[in-house]
């Protein structure tokens, strides 16, 4: 989630000062996540330095400064809005490193860890299902869609655990699994 483009997007609608920005951004996210005001200010400074936003008028009440988006900012936002996300996939590398180390340091605990992890994901599916029901009851269809995404990721995690349970033990004979 990019605060940079979130801010550019909101400033395209109208000039805002830092605190308004935080609160608008939180409203955009359905007041589900809190945004750090310090991060908002530092991002505003960087955007101004890069010429993507500029001060809109003089400092107002209690020295507050509102910002507006520049033409360069509009162009950068437009490019970002229509580009697909190509960030690397977030893998559960902590778990994988644990498994690799467990295999080297102990015998036979790998299955136990994978099975425990699988239960965590099953429980997460239950919790997400509850949240999805609540969000639907509250008419929060944006949130329902986001939760559906989380459900699908969790289902994929469970499938990954199944693959690990089946195939991880056979890694024992691989060169990488032999303690040196």
């Amino acid at each position: 989630m990019s605060l940079r483009y979130g801010i550019l997007g909101l400033l395209t609608e109208e000039p805002l000062h830092g605190y308004e920005m935080k609160s608008r951004f939180e409203a955009l996210l359905g007041r589900t996540w809190e945004v750090n005001i310090g991060q908002v200010y530092s991002t505003l400074q960087r955007l101004e330095r890069d010429g993507l936003i500029e001060a809109a008028g003089e400092r107002g009440d209690r020295g507050k400064l509102a910002y507006q988006v520049t033409e360069a900012g509009r162009q950068q936002l437009a490019a970002w809005l229509t580009a697909p996300e190509t960030e690397p996939q977030d893998l559960h590398e902590a778990l994988f490193v644990k498994l690799l180390l467990l295999r080297r340091l102990t015998k036979g605990q790998v299955d136990t860890l994978i099975a425990r992890q699988r239960r965590v994901y099953l429980q997460r599916l239950r919790d997400l299902a509850t949240l999805e029901r609540q969000a639907r009851q509250e008419g929060r269809h944006d949130l329902v869609l986001l939760i559906k995404g989380a459900v699908l990721h969790t289902e994929a995690d469970i499938k990954w655990m199944d693959v690990l349970l089946e195939e991880f033990p056979s890694l024992e004979s691989d060169r990488g699994g032999t303690p040196t």
């Binding site: 989630m1 990019s2 605060l3 940079r4 996210l29 589900t32 996540w33 809190e34 945004v35 750090n36 991060q39 530092s42 991002t43 960087r46 955007l47 890069d50 099975a115 699988r118 239960r119 099953l122 429980q123 997460r124 599916l125 239950r126 919790d127 997400l128 299902a129 509850t130 949240l131 969000a135 949130l143 986001l146 939760i147 989380a150 459900v151 289902e155 469970i158 199944d162 349970l165 089946e166």
Partner: protein
């Protein structure tokens, strides 16, 4: 809590062209009143397990006991009686009789089990009420939606107050919203004390609705997880929003 279903060292090997393992040394105990889900991919042994509990199949070794009765000792006739009187089954594709009205579909197993007509009708009306389809009693299945048909099938499965309700992919033929409504009903039925064993390949449905999720793989129990009530954690606890600083 009494044990409703007990499998002890159950194996099932199918003798086709080559021997195929349906279940391999499975022991499982399901207490009275539990809503258990049996989960696994196709070929994992889910259907074999269900067929053994339903007495439609006999284990190669081991014992299956339901409601205190060891199924291995029963004749075919006694098994049929066990299925009629002690078991309710809900299928993926409903299996309703299209030439009978909703009410008559529900009454049929009660009549086969020898329940008095007045008692059976009262029981069927109660179930129709409970499942929210009271006004459909006179309709024929062909005129009902998938969700309504599955409700009728649930009512039919419950009419004889079975010891165990087996549900085989009960939402498999329904869209996801209707499926959730059907499962909400099963949860309601379970709250009334009904033991339910649901077979599904769907991890979300299993985890969201059952109190226990038994995962099968290649005929063995891979995991047997007791689910906790929803933790009450919020969206932001479960889903991390990573806010990145702007460029350097």
């Amino acid at each position: 809590m009494n044990t409703r279903i007990e499998l002890t060292n159950v194996s099932k090997i199918y003798n086709g062209g080559s021997k195929q393992v349906g279940l391999s040394d499975v022991s499982l105990s399901i207490p009275s009143g539990q809503f258990a889900a049996i989960m696994g991919p196709s070929g994992s042994g889910k259907s074999t397990l269900l067929n053994l509990i339903a007495g439609l199949d006999r284990p190669t070794s081991g014992t299956v006991t339901v409601d205190g009765v060891s199924l291995g000792g029963l004749s075919e006739a006694a098994l049929a009686r066990y299925r009629r009187q002690r078991l309710g089954v809900v299928f993926q594709f409903f299996h309703l009789l299209n030439q009978l009205s909703v009410l008559d579909n529900i009454l049929l197993p009660a009549q086969l089990a020898g329940m008095k007509t007045a008692t059976a009708r009262a029981r069927a009306r109660d179930l129709l009420d409970q499942l929210g389809i009271a006004e459909k009693a006179g309709e024929y299945p062909a005129r009902l939606s998938g969700g309504e048909r599955q409700r009728v099938a649930i009512a039919r499965a419950l009419v004889n107050r079975p010891a165990v309700l087996l549900a085989d992919e009960p939402t498999g033929a329904l869209d996801s919203r209707t499926g959730e409504q059907v499962l909400d009903l099963l949860v309601e039925v379970n709250r009334g004390g009904q033991t339910i064993v649901m077979v599904t390949h769907d991890a979300k449905l299993a985890a969201a609705y059952a109190a226990r999720v038994v995962s099968l793989r290649d005929g063995r129990i891979l995991d047997d997880a007791q689910m906790q009530p929803s933790s009450g954690r919020s969206v932001s606890d479960l889903m991390q929003l990573e806010i990145k600083e702007a460029g350097k």
